[in-house]
């Protein structure tokens, strides 16, 4: 059986733009680390890492172009799972 190419394909140009975006975000994180932002710095770094992951997931991993219930659930489902995991661990260690 032939594999149907039913994905509305991202063009090479889109991929290059996403790559430039990822490099810019990396530059921002590295230069932010030079500033003394204290505890805020970690959150900024994590938010930037989250945005970079989102770009990779949506464009490079084609989640933006996938149809079907399962693929729509992957990102929110994983985020929910990790948030629950982290929240439960931290409510434990913070109030010990």
């Amino acid at each position: 059986m032939e594999q149907k190419d039913d994905l509305q394909s991202a063009t090479a140009r889109t991929y290059v733009y996403v790559w430039i975006g990822l490099l810019l975000l990396t530059g921002i994180t590295v230069s932010m680390a030079g500033m003394d932002l204290g505890q805020l710095g970690v959150w900024v770094a994590l938010i930037i890492a989250g945005v970079k992951s989102g770009l990779v997931l949506l464009y490079f991993m084609h989640l933006k172009y996938e149809r079907g219930f399962f693929f729509k659930l992957i990102m929110p489902g994983t985020i929910l799972l990790l948030v629950l995991f982290i929240a439960m661990v931290f409510t434990d260690i913070a109030f010990r």
């Binding site: 059986m1 032939e2 594999q3 149907k4 190419d5 394909s9 991202a10 063009t11 090479a12 991929y15 290059v16 996403v18 790559w19 990822l22 490099l23 990396t26 994180t29 590295v30 932010m32 680390a33 710095g41 970690v42 770094a45 994590l46 930037i48 890492a49 970079k52 992951s53 990779v56 997931l57 464009y59 490079f60 991993m61 079907g68 399962f70 693929f71 992957i74 994983t78 799972l81 990790l82 995991f85 982290i86 661990v89 931290f90 260690i93 913070a94």
Partner: protein, 198 residues
């Protein structure tokens, strides 16, 4: 008899495997966060020993390898076997370059007497020992994933050359690409948490 392939099914299977990988690394990230929450000062101090330049260089290399991976799949979907092989070979080389830099970085650490159970490290605070334990465990497990990825992509490269992966049947390459991108995402989080915390 015609071979039956369920491409949506195999893609869903791959994603379920990737989710199990997220949980594997997620556990280690939670461990890192819990100890960092407890020993912020020591983690800050220990992170100063990491080489920010090499970490940044490896980030750029891995992001670029993700681009060439995506371009390789885009090429095979257009039926351009030659450019698909070239992009795939570039991805493999960038993966090897990443591992080479990781080797240099680890060697320098070991050269400075920072390795598990070293007399130097045992002379430091227990929180710094924890930091380097997590550093070696997490970047080591990630490096192992890159090594597996390089082997996997080499096999895929062979299949593309042989014509087993083609315009009408590229699910193997697509799933390998998903794995490669996930390894990239894990590094996107490892990089700031270890190299930029000084």
């Amino acid at each position: 008899m015609e071979e039956h392939k369920d491409t949506i099914g195999s893609k869903i299977g791959m994603w379920i495997f990737l989710l199990s990988e997220v949980i594997l690394f997620g556990g280690l990230f939670v461990l890192y966060s819990a100890y960092r929450f407890k020993f912020r000062g020591d983690f800050h101090l220990a992170a100063m020993d990491l080489n920010r330049l090499l970490g940044t260089l490896n980030t750029v290399i891995l992001l670029t390898s993700s681009l060439t991976m995506a371009l390789s799949i885009a090429s095979i979907r257009k039926g351009l076997r030659g450019s698909s092989v070239v992009y795939l070979a570039a991805t493999i080389l960038l993966g090897l370059l990443f591992l080479g830099i990781k080797y240099l970085e680890w060697s320098a650490k070991v050269g400075h007497g920072i390795y598990p159970n070293s007399p130097d490290l045992l002379g430091r605070s227990s929180a710094e020992v924890l930091f380097f334990g997590l550093y070696y465990a997490m970047t080591g497990l990630h490096g192992f994933h890159v090594l597996v990825g390089v082997a996997l992509l080499s096999a895929m490269c062979f299949f593309v050359v042989k014509g087993k992966i083609k315009k009408t049947d590229f699910i193997l390459l697509e799933n390998s690409g998903l794995y490669w991108h996930l390894v990239d995402i894990i590094w996107i989080f490892l990089f700031p948490l270890f190299y930029l915390m000084a």
